[in-house]
């Protein structure tokens, strides 16, 4: 299943357990994987039409008494078109809205820059009170949905990855907001990633291993609040590589760098992510190749980086 279908299934399960959960969408019920949800819970699923500003405002109103209200649309629309509504209703008022940015990063492929989620983390994490969660695979999307519902306050959930994002967690685990997960332990460098890039980072670590470089891989599913201890541990041990399907400005790389800059003996950092441009569209695998976000290309960049050090 793709990320949106998993999200829809998770919402069905959540709604079966709690009656104070609502979903609003801006004419993207079906695209958000919520078709079954809307039929199962017609009195808890509302379509506000193509009106993202009102989407956030109405979600905030529905959450005014504490209900958990999930609001979905494409990542740039919820984070930027409705950015100020998010700031006022979620940031300033701290209302219990869970904004879901679907198809973030490059997954929407041929739709191009209007629909890509390139800057959503940067916007969301700069707004006080908002927790930013970027699940790495289907199992983690389910955990994130439940964790978000259990958290009293605003959350941004960023969905990435294509139709068949491979699982990155071999075993079940406890998901804790703000507590990263070390998926692979290595001695030389640490790769910190989130969302669909966790899988590609593991692939990169395998390739590096074959080239004599031992890499840790950390799934930083929570960009805010950032797991400072994990960043400190990585940055004091060796070089840090951040990998994200987001602009290299203001996202995970920026968040890690902000923390690292406070450390006295931190190693340097390599930022891998999307460049500060609006490029041409293509299919998802073409885009990942073009921007060097496959396991092979991530490994190659890391080896070049280590050579220069």
């Amino acid at each position: 299943m793709g990320s949106r279908a998993v999200f829809g299934s998770a919402m069905l399960e959540l709604a079966s357990q709690r009656d104070d959960v609502y979903v609003l969408s801006a004419d993207l019920i079906i695209s958000s994987g919520l078709d079954r949800f809307s039929k199962a819970y017609p009195d808890r699923c509302f379509n506000v039409g193509i009106a993202e500003q009102n989407l956030i405002g109405m979600a905030a109103g529905m959450a005014h008494d504490g209900a958990a209200v999930f609001a979905t649309s494409f990542a740039p629309f919820v984070s930027m078109r409705a950015g100020e509504q998010v700031r006022v209703n979620l940031g300033c008022m701290g209302l219990n809205v869970k904004v879901v940015g679907i198809s973030s990063g490059l997954e929407i492929a041929h739709f191009g820059n209007s629909h890509y989620g390139l800057e959503d983390i940067s916007v969301m994490r700069s707004i006080p009170n908002i927790t930013v969660l970027c699940p790495a695979d289907g199992a983690e999307i389910i955990k994130v949905v439940f964790a978000a519902a259990e958290t009293r306050g605003p959350v941004y959930i960023r969905l990435t990855g294509g139709a068949n994002t491979p699982p990155v967690h071999a075993d079940d685990y406890e998901f804790i907001i703000g507590k990263s997960i070390k998926l692979r332990d290595g001695n030389d460098i640490t790769i910190i990633a989130h969302g669909a890039m966790v899988y590609h980072s593991i692939r990169a670590a395998e390739i590096l291993q074959n080239n004599g470089i031992s890499a840790s891989v950390v799934n930083m599913h929570t960009v805010k609040p950032l797991d400072m201890a994990a960043v400190d541990e990585a940055a004091l041990k060796g070089p840090v590589v951040t990998v994200e399907e987001h602009s290299v400005i203001g996202g995970l790389g920026g968040a890690v760098a902000e923390r690292k800059s406070t450390l006295k003996n931190a190693f340097p950092q390599l930022f891998i992510g999307l460049p500060d441009i609006y490029g041409k569209p293509g299919d998802y695998s073409y885009l990942l190749e073009k921007y060097g976000l496959t396991g092979e290309l991530i490994a190659k960049k890391i080896m070049e980086f280590l050579c220069q050090m």
């Binding site: 609502y22 009195d43 808890r44 509302f46 506000v48 039409g49 009106a51 500003q53 009102n54 956030i56 405002g57 109405m58 979600a59 905030a60 109103g61 529905m62 959450a63 005014h64 008494d65 209900a67 209200v69 100020e84 509504q85 006022v88 209703n89 300033c92 008022m93």
Partner: protein
Amino acid sequence: MNNIFDEARVKTMADMMRRNILDMAYGCGSGAHLGGGLSVVETLAVLYGAIMYFDPSNPADPDRDRFILSKGHGVLGFYAALAQAGIFPIELLETFQRNGTDLASLTVMNINLGIESSNGSLGQGLSMAAGIALHAKSREKTFRTYVLLGNGECNEGEVWEAVMSASQFKLDNLTAIVDDNSMQSDGTSERIIDMSSFSEKFEAFGWDTASADGHDVSSLYCAITQRTANGRPKAVIAKTVKGKGVSFIENNRDWHHNRLTKSLYEQALAEIGASR
């Protein structure tokens, strides 16, 4: 409480509110949104003095009617209404626009003080009110949600997004009041964005409407309370005068946000029939 319309009492409340407004604006020692604050006085006196249900000793009462001040710039009138309604002590008004205050230049959500939302960024309150009303329907709650919009604020596109949704979701438990003083920050609305007839616009989107003289408490009371449970949200267009009650503030864009000097304060008090 409320649900009884005592015209004389509501008029007295409005008079007291105007006095509170001038005291706050002068007392804070800096500029304040006097024009919009004075135009909403009667509307808020009617809502808080005769129409809305609330328990002054328990502002978080889950059954309370909700009020959203979408035109956050109407704070002077709003704070005065909350104080006159007994939700917080009159003395708290002295903290208006002081450093670190809860009574800021534009509202900051504080349920214990009866402030349901943070406003000032215009055009957002109707969406929130519609969300509250939709949630109330979903929970089969019988309270009503009121929201006060400014005419200038209705330039914002989000207002009309919310207008469409409120109609679509059949929110007949929602009342929007447009404080139509025909002015906005830069001057007369006719010369900036001429919104023409608000009634026609709301009706075109499937709302019930009523018009009122926004400084006549009986007219407001009738317009706001006449309603039918027909699945339509209700819009009341309250025709008002920006800065109502003080000659040099009325219809004067310079007083959208300005500072009262001692002599102007004294003149204003005299004009509203209050003594120092």
